[in-house]
């Protein structure tokens, strides 16, 4: 069986965690929630650092079953803690080698130089951890975890202890992990922006209970889960199709169709995520040829939810694909009445602005 089957009941002090879900065997699963929601506890249960009752099966391999639990050091996992936690008595190179040396040569699937290059830590190898910046330390910690050739990489808010500059420095490396390695990642975060940028699957925790889980692009646009109606947005994944150099525009191919945005640096073929804020999506009954708006797609209204006085959030699906990734439009109740909008109605979604996710 593929997938990561997680089911735990844990009691830590006065806090109780009860959760069960199956995460995909590839890509980034974000464990998302506010502080105190139990996401770090859940990650520690998966690692075996926290005693819990339950069941854990990682791509067919049983790590825990009832009261039996595989010891932490036998689990083929990598763990990146919130603070880099490098060993202060070892050089960067010896830190990186710590887990790598303990792996039988036949089980090493990540080459030393490969991990070092992937995280860009070549020039730090002979340094002592105390001389590194926060961002550098965290990159070494990630490389160190990768060098144990994990079959599941666990990351506990790896960016939260860093300042904005170091965050911006590490995010591209995390995206590379996601794109270049086939290792599933559990990524704990309380930042919706990070989750929207990195996650393929979301497990949403609240007060130790599972609130929702599902594919990221779907869950991010679920109106009932929107944290703040004014900031609701949809996230689409696409591939850079071409650049229209004369107009300084880039065309990205998405599930909804072509989308035009300000010229971006990525080369054609590059996978990108774009955000479509609900307040910048409006609805029309007809495709207007004469308009300054570049992006307009046929859609079907799925639901209309009143969220604040006089305003509603309208969830839309592509007209061509009722199961497609949804969009959200934030419009006035007056427009709903005047246009006679209701679920099932065919409309055109007109997108005023599109932003690249980063």
């Amino acid at each position: 069986m593929t997938g990561i089957e997680v089911s735990f009941k844990a009691q830590v002090g006065g806090f109780a965690l009860t959760t069960a879900f199956v995460a995909p065997s590839r890509g980034v699963t974000a464990l998302f929630g506010h502080s105190g929601s139990g996401k770090t506890t859940l990650l520690r249960c998966v690692a075996g650092l926290q005693q819990a009752e339950g069941r854990l099966v990682v791509n067919g391999e049983v790590w825990q079953e009832g009261r039996w639990s595989m010891p932490v050091h036998r689990r083929p996992l990598g763990y990146v803690f919130q603070e880099a936690s490098l060993f202060p008595h070892l050089s960067v190179r010896r830190n990186l080698e710590y887990g790598w040396r303990r792996l039988p040569a036949a089980e090493r699937r990540v080459a030393f130089d490969e991990a070092v290059a992937l995280l860009g830590v070549e020039r730090l190898l002979s340094r002592a951890p105390s001389g590194l910046s926060g961002g550098e330390r965290q990159r070494v910690a990630i490389a160190r975890a990768l060098l144990t050739s994990p079959r599941l990489l666990l990351m506990d808010e790896p960016l939260s202890a860093l300042d904005e500059r170091s965050k911006a420095e590490i995010l591209p490396y995390l995206e590379r992990l996601h794109d270049e390695l086939a290792i599933p990642i559990f990524y704990v975060s309380h930042s919706l922006a990070e989750v929207a940028r990195l996650a393929d699957h979301i497990v949403w925790l609240e007060k130790g209970l599972l609130k929702a889980e599902g594919p990221a692009l779907d869950l991010l646009t679920r109106v009932d889960l929107t944290l703040r109606a004014g900031e609701a947005e949809a996230v689409l994944e696409g591939v850079v199709a071409r650049h229209e150099e004369a107009d300084h525009l880039t065309v990205v191919e998405t599930a909804w169709g072509e989308i035009w945005l300000q010229r971006i640096a990525h080369a054609p073929g590059h996978r990108v995520r774009v955000r479509l804020p609900a307040r910048d999506v409006s609805l029309a009954l007809e495709a207007e040829r004469q308009s300054s708006i570049l992006n307009a797609w046929p859609a079907v209204i799925e639901s209309i939810t009143a969220t604040e006085p006089g305003r509603v959030l309208v969830q839309l699906r592509p007209a061509a694909d009722p199961q497609g990734i949804p969009l959200i439009a934030r419009i006035t109740e007056r427009s709903v009445r005047q246009l006679g909008l209701m679920p099932g109605r065919a409309v055109f979604a007109r997108i005023k602005s599109v932003g690249l996710m980063n």
Binding site: L49, H73, F87, H89, Y98
Partner: protein
């Protein structure tokens, strides 16, 4: 001045060396357990280890004498094993010194292990290190200042003991007549010159020990 008798000095160094070595071997796992356990027994056991800090040495020596003597539980055992009796022998002194100096080795180690916290050990576990492996490759190197303090204090304290030695060792030249007893002897027989050599030597030794400890610990802290 007669030929100076160095034998008590060598005997003392031998006793302190043996005791410190044994204490590091026994005390390290013990301190590790005390630092990591959440067991109910942590406090009672910790208190027993610390007893020599507050007990008069003669009290400890008295009970050891009874325990190791011909009618004591341990004494009967050592006789049955063909080891003879321990009181008034070098090894009897070693046993007494190990118990007497125990807190001076166990407590610095326990403090050092507690200061590590769980994190480095957890990190090592996620990097495939078995419990013994993480102890030797992470806990021990990170607790190095604690080991240094424990070694120096254990050694120096054994060198300076008097009450326990007198109770369980007596005053047999070459076997149990250690430095502190020798000083006492010289003073008793009014040989102040001889007493001075040993006593002043002890003052110098103790001062050097503390100075070395201070500087080495500072250097270790700077490095980490």
């Amino acid at each position: 001045m007669a030929q100076f008798d160095w034998q008590p000095v060598w005997l003392t160094l031998q006793l302190a060396g043996t005791t410190t070595l044994l204490l590091l071997l026994v005390g390290t796992p013990f301190a590790w357990w005390l630092a990591r356990t959440r067991s109910f027994w942590k406090q009672p056991v910790g208190a027993v280890v610390a007893l020599p800090l507050v007990l008069p040495p003669t009290v400890l020596g008295f009970y050891l004498l009874l325990l190791l003597g011909p009618k004591g539980v341990v004494g009967e055992m050592t006789q049955a094993l063909g080891l003879g009796l321990l009181p008034f022998t070098f090894w009897g002194l070693v046993v007494a010194s190990v118990l007497y100096s125990m807190p001076f080795v166990v407590q610095p180690l326990q403090n050092a292990f507690e200061a590590l916290g769980d994190r480095p050990i957890e990190v090592a576990a996620t990097l495939r290190a078995s419990p013994l492996d993480r102890f030797f490759t992470v806990a021990v190197p990170l607790a190095r200042p604690g080991f240094l303090t424990a070694t120096v204090l254990g050694f120096a304290h054994t060198v300076g003991e008097f009450g326990v030695v007198l109770m369980i060792g007596g005053n047999i030249p070459g076997e149990t007549k250690v430095l502190s007893v020798a000083i006492y002897d010289y003073v008793e027989s009014l040989e102040y010159d001889q007493a001075h050599i040993l006593a002043a030597g002890m003052v110098g030794f103790s001062f050097l020990v503390l100075l070395t400890l201070h500087f080495t610990n500072r250097r270790l802290e700077v490095r980490q």
